[in-house]
């Protein structure tokens, strides 16, 4: 019945309708009259309202004149029925009814060294991939940036296509973005942009996916990569990258090595992964990599980020000996500022911090990390026969004011020992929210 009604309207419009060419102003794929990326009932409703009308009447009518003959008629209806609940790679007025390809981009969280450890390989969820904060973050990879552990600043991005071998291209919103088919930028593996669009991507005839590596070459900001047909601007999927301005360092306690999957009793690393998953550039270390003079791999990683990747904001947090190492690293960074460059330590946090002069150091770490803008401090009171008297303590000018939170004054932490203080959800949640509030990604 519905189709009979439509047919009558179409015939009527053919006889009596105006003859103004339409479709040229429609930016959407054929039959996607409302431009929401899919062809469904809502498009049909708009199309039906335009049947027999002047294509210039409204945008949806312009988009309804799919063959561009100046009329919204039976031919357009035929095209619509072909494309209903499908996709098109064409735009009005050039619609032929050919079924287009589908494509999905999946970006991953940043690499570390030769892979992802100490993090699992983590895809950015579809619902976050265009979020300017929670979406994929990317390190600036300036020329001459020789990563200590080898090239790991490129972000992995997988393009899934249907049907296999579909012809698709990438469009970028900024020339800061470059795309490669190899993770280490092997010569000859760069995908060239002409202007800001590539030619058809090297997707083999039977291939349903292509792994790409995205590089951000200079300057802060955000930029998108979209996948679209080579000859039109129909966006199949889109990913928004944010270039990291900051680096976050997490230091576990004595004998808390990093692991994949994370040990749920290593609260520092649980927080580290939580922040990694919401778009921060987090680096997690065993506290042993920080010497008592603050030097070592963690320090070198931060300095490299500042010197070579334009990073100017630093956050460091640690538990037990990792808290002592947080102080040592902040101290060394502050002492060596003149040779490193301009940066701020925006955030530090101790969880029951113990000095880390050595593996056998048992003294409280009570010093505020030098030059930190915000310091969060959690501590409990140790006793010899309960937790070897290991504990942190009040630290001047800490949060919560004035000296941090003695968790034994809270209902949830009243019986805490040193060995479990880092695992309380309340401790981890406060760390996560204060990082979010004090550190720019």
């Amino acid at each position: 019945m519905r189709y009979l009604f439509i047919t009558m309207i179409v015939i009527g419009s053919f006889v009596f309708g105006p003859r103004v060419y339409g479709g040229a102003g429609c930016p959407f794929q054929c039959a996607d009259v409302d431009g929401d990326g899919s062809i469904n009932d809502s498009d049909y409703a708009l199309f039906a309202s335009c049947l027999g009308e002047d294509p210039q009447l409204a945008t949806q009518c312009d988009c309804s004149d799919m063959d561009g003959n100046g009329e919204i008629d039976l031919a357009d209806f035929a095209l619509f029925t072909l494309l209903f609940q499908n996709v098109s790679d064409e735009t009005p007025p050039g619609c032929t009814g050919a079924i287009g390809s589908a494509a999905n981009l999946t970006a991953y969280r940043p690499q570390h060294g030769n892979g992802y450890a100490p993090f699992p390989r983590t895809a950015v969820p579809d619902n976050l991939e265009t979020d300017p904060l929670l979406g994929p973050g990317i390190r600036i990879n300036q020329p001459g940036d020789d990563d200590p552990q080898g090239e790991d600043d490129l972000v992995e991005m997988v393009l899934d296509v249907n049907p296999p071998g579909a012809a698709l291209a990438l469009h970028r919103s900024s020339s800061a973005l470059r795309v490669w088919t190899s993770r280490t930028k092997t010569p000859g593996s760069e995908i060239s942009f002409i202007g800001d669009k590539t030619a058809a991507l090297p997707i083999g005839p039977g291939d349903s996916n292509l792994t790409l590596w995205v590089e951000w070459t200079a300057g802060f900001g955000t930029a998108t990569l979209t996948v679209e047909p080579p000859t039109t601007s129909i966006i199949k999927d889109e990913v928004l990258f944010h270039a990291f301005e900051s680096i976050v360092v997490a230091l576990g306690g004595e004998n808390q090595p990093t692991s994949v999957p994370v040990d749920p009793n290593h609260g520092t690393f649980v927080v580290g992964i939580a922040m990694y998953n919401v778009g921060f550039d987090v680096h997690m270390f065993d506290e042993d990599v920080v010497g008592s003079d603050g030097s070592g791999e963690a320090y070198d990683t931060v300095v490299d980020a500042i010197v070579n990747r334009e990073v100017d904001k630093v956050a460091i947090f640690g538990y037990s000996h990792g808290g002592g190492s947080t102080y040592d690293m902040a101290d060394r960074l502050d002492i060596n500022r003149a040779g490193i460059g301009v940066f701020s330590i925006l955030y530090t946090s101790y969880v029951d911090a113990v000095g880390n002069n050595s593996d056998i150091d048992t003294a409280m770490e009570l010093r505020r990390p030098p030059s930190t803008a915000y310091h969060l401090n959690h501590y409990q009171h140790g006793s010899f026969f309960e937790d070897f008297s290991l504990d942190g303590g009040p630290v001047p000018n800490s949060n919560p004011p004035p000296t941090g939170l003695d968790i034994e004054t809270t209902p949830w932490g009243a019986t805490s020992t040193h060995f479990e203080v880092d695992d309380f959800i309340e401790v981890r949640s406060l760390m996560e929210s204060t990082i979010e509030n004090n550190v720019t990604r």
Partner: protein
């Protein structure tokens, strides 16, 4: 002197190879008690091999895991008794335990016992230095991590090697070799401070020879200071630094030559393949090995 040092190093090397696949540690338990008393240390640890003491290891394990005060208090009494019997052996066994620890709780036992029993730096150093020849990397790491407690180093303060210097000076004064593993540790922690400490520990007396070493160390560390604080580019090696490194690479004392690969390891920008290649053929095996590892 050079040949004697070489022979000692070679003996140590052969000995290390023999024990590479064992879990035992190189220490001289009986000698250690004496060493702790006299604050001296044997440079040749082939006299005896002592494995982990299973009773003590069990005791530490129980102490770490005890979940009530009464149990732990009883165990603590046993630990105090062990300390009274043989402090050096207790320190060594604690260090072994810590090197095998799998949790924060276990790994902190050594520190807690050392602190609560008021063991001094001299006690710990005398007990651990003979163990430093071990090939077990986790044990080596634990020993170094323990000794750091008494080196008092920070970002603004160089390490204090005075305890090591006194110990090495005693060895040399009494006609023995400096303990190679300890010397290597010092150069690993801070090549410049180690070079100066060795100049004193070996009782160098000729002012011109002392000045030669002082000037070389000052030249290198001054240049590193300029790099660190941005007065020169991070990748710049000043010509005078290369000159001083070459002089030290040809110095008559093996520990002065050892400074060259140690400094290049610590500050990779200083790395000179030519110098390292020359040092690979050094008559002192410690120096040759250090150079070889760096160039590899």
């Amino acid at each position: 002197m050079r040949e004697k040092s070489k022979m000692t190093t070679m003996k140590l090397h052969r000995f290390n190879s023999l024990t590479r696949l064992t879990l035992v540690v190189l220490c001289v338990c009986a000698t250690n008690a004496k060493a702790a008393e006299n604050k001296t240390v044997s440079t040749d640890s082939k006299d005896a091999v002592v494995a982990a003491d299973s009773k003590m290891q069990s005791l530490f394990g129980e102490f770490a895991l005890a979940d009530d005060a009464a149990t732990r208090e009883g165990l603590w009494d046993q630990l105090r008794q062990l300390d009274r019997t043989n402090r050096a052996a207790l320190i060594q066994q604690l260090t072994l335990f810590a090197s095998e620890a799998q949790s924060t709780r276990s790994s902190m036992v050594a520190g807690v016992v050392i602190k609560e029993l008021k063991m001094t730096g001299e006690d710990v150093v005398a007990a651990l230095v003979p163990m430093m020849t071990t090939d077990e990397s986790t044990l080596q790491k634990q020993i170094k991590g323990t000794l750091a407690e008494f080196e008092d180093q920070s970002a603004s303060r160089p390490p204090d090697f005075s305890m090591y210097r006194a110990l090495i000076a005693t060895e040399i004064r009494e006609g023995r070799e400096a303990p190679v593993a300890l010397v290597l540790h010092m150069f690993d922690v801070d090549p410049g401070a180690a070079l100066i400490a060795m100049t004193r520990a070996t009782q160098m007396r000729e002012p011109s020879k002392i000045r030669e070493i002082l000037w070389a160390e000052h030249t290198v560390s001054d240049s590193i200071w300029k790099q660190t604080h941005g007065f020169i580019d991070r990748d710049t090696v000043e010509p005078q630094v290369s000159v001083q490194l070459e002089r030290l690479a040809n110095h008559s004392e093996w520990w002065a030559r050892l400074y060259v690969p140690a400094a290049m390891k610590r500050y990779p920008v200083l790395k000179s393949v030519d110098l390292l290649e020359n040092l690979q053929g050094d008559p002192n095996e410690t120096v040759a090995t250090a150079a070889e590892r760096l160039i590899r």
